[in-house]
Symmetry: C2
Subunit: 341 residues, 2 copies
Amino acid sequence: MNIKRIAELAGVSVATVSRVINHPERVRDKTREHVLNVMHEYNYTPNWFAQSLNLESSKTIALLIPGIETNFFQQIISGVETVAGNKAYAVLFGQTSNLPTREAEFVDMMINRKVDGIIQVNSQLDLEKALSMQNLGLPRVHIGKNRILSNDTLCYLDIEEGALRMTRHLIELGHSSIMALLEETNSSTSEQMNSGFHRALRGAGHTVFFSSAQAENSVRGGYLTVQRLILSKSIPGALVTASDLQAIGAMKAARDAQIKIPDDMALASLTDSAVCSVLSPALTALELPSKKLGMAAARMLIDQIEGILPYVDMPHDLILQPKLKIRESCGNTQDFYEWFD
Amino acid sequence: MNIKRIAELAGVSVATVSRVINHPERVRDKTREHVLNVMHEYNYTPNWFAQSLNLESSKTIALLIPGIETNFFQQIISGVETVAGNKAYAVLFGQTSNLPTREAEFVDMMINRKVDGIIQVNSQLDLEKALSMQNLGLPRVHIGKNRILSNDTLCYLDIEEGALRMTRHLIELGHSSIMALLEETNSSTSEQMNSGFHRALRGAGHTVFFSSAQAENSVRGGYLTVQRLILSKSIPGALVTASDLQAIGAMKAARDAQIKIPDDMALASLTDSAVCSVLSPALTALELPSKKLGMAAARMLIDQIEGILPYVDMPHDLILQPKLKIRESCGNTQDFYEWFD
DNA sequence: TTCTTGGTTGAAAGCGTTCTCATTATACAT
DNA sequence: ATGTATAATGAGAACGCTTTCAACCAAGAA
């Protein structure tokens, strides 16, 4: 069934049917109703390709994301999908696996498919490709703190502030030896965490020993790291992990070696999750509003697409604050509960 | 840049350029090479809409999934994306939230966008819509056990067998009072679990008391249920939860009430996850190969699309078996380790 | 030389829309 | 009735591609 056939059946011209679809107000009530009836009767919907071929738009937004394995990314996807769905945009999904070449391929594909906008999470795109997108006037929103072009729109969680608050919390609890367990990648997230750590350290009244290590973002990664720490008898007073999975692994390694948390070593995670509060001891962690992040990014993108936001030469960042959830894994905290909750 | 311009620049006709793209063998080596060079020089890629408008295909597969919140679904998405990406298919993503109307809307949208195939997870589509898809000859693969049309292709995990094995395991450990905590929805998953439970019960040598309850799939759901159980002093000898989150909640409720696991109550989950093995006690759970499920579904779909599999009137199911991971939460099991691992 | 064969190529129709522009219908004032 | 402004409609080009069909060309056979 196509528009021509509908036009014949309704006894009007193709143009009129098209108008009924796109500019209903420009056609007489009676005609419109009649055409609508015929369309309905034959269960007609306009061919999306033909529409898009003309309009050079597709009612689609692209979401380029490193992976789908971690809770953080999953929440973002969910948030983007929710907002996009509400605004009748489809979302075309690309898993970049942190591979810049793969990301570039996806970008080409998305451009070719005339997506109306693109959300890039932790983008590692090279300048050239970013510029070519900019020249195309393709609305973009970055999730993550790495601004590629000077007028990129950014959405991110203030991880630095979170890391700072977490570290400050540990220092206030009296810890003078803190170790950070970051991810293996030298991502901007890791950099932000480091900045946060060091700002907190500088702000401490007294000297605090600080070290850091890297491990894969998994239970196994956390387990192996702490196991190694134990073997080399260099257990820090407090361990802060980038992810909850690492913290869980760390906790298990500690338990296996009879190291008591929080008495022998305090433990905290810079990523909260549903399980953190039910571990024993319950894990002090940073609650990241990651679904909100996805929703915010999608909304900003769609605002750009629909011309609600002026987006050229006007960076418009959105920064969401994480929230410190103080639980049991860092020691006696009754003094602090009331301060933070 | 369009095909006409390329044709001019290469000094050939539009048809020749098109042939270079689609049927390279039908053009003379020298010509082809020359055209290819021009295409490359101007960084030309054919307009996807124009192509698709002609070909009535889109190199896209649709993935309709209830949600993205649970690990199970996330793994499926990841698996589908992986296989699809390798075969150069894009994946268009739809979150149905278990709403049949929303699912139907997505199906319409996908049909209109001429997706080459569609993967439906836990589909609740009505017969009529399913039939219309069938009549369109649109390849489909269902993930889940609910066959809507008699010749649907199904991919699913043998949850029933898993539930059976889990229950049998508990019975062999000597439990004579077992309670199941299922999800709130009356999904086919719940049905399968029930079948598994009852088959195991029938197969038991002696009488086993069995009861079941429903709770939302979350830590909170598990917590509240067990709390209620404790208040009414009707704690079962063993509790089997549908999800790991529920089990974690249950574990916390038990701990809060000084109920010892596994001594006072055995606990097991029909969904394994990274945290299960690091809880204390480590949680006996069913390992579901859900990423493999997604990969298998995508492969089957693409095989259908590319005509490798005959798919009409020939149901072709793929059933993956879960694996029982026996840990600590169901009591002394040294006898069983060697049997199952 | 002339005919045949088969490989290369180009002209133009079609895919299903939207949009511009010209035309026709309607309403209202004269 | 007549003219005029405006609303409603239709004809046809354009979007960028694929494909059919006819034309062309070279090489070998008669």
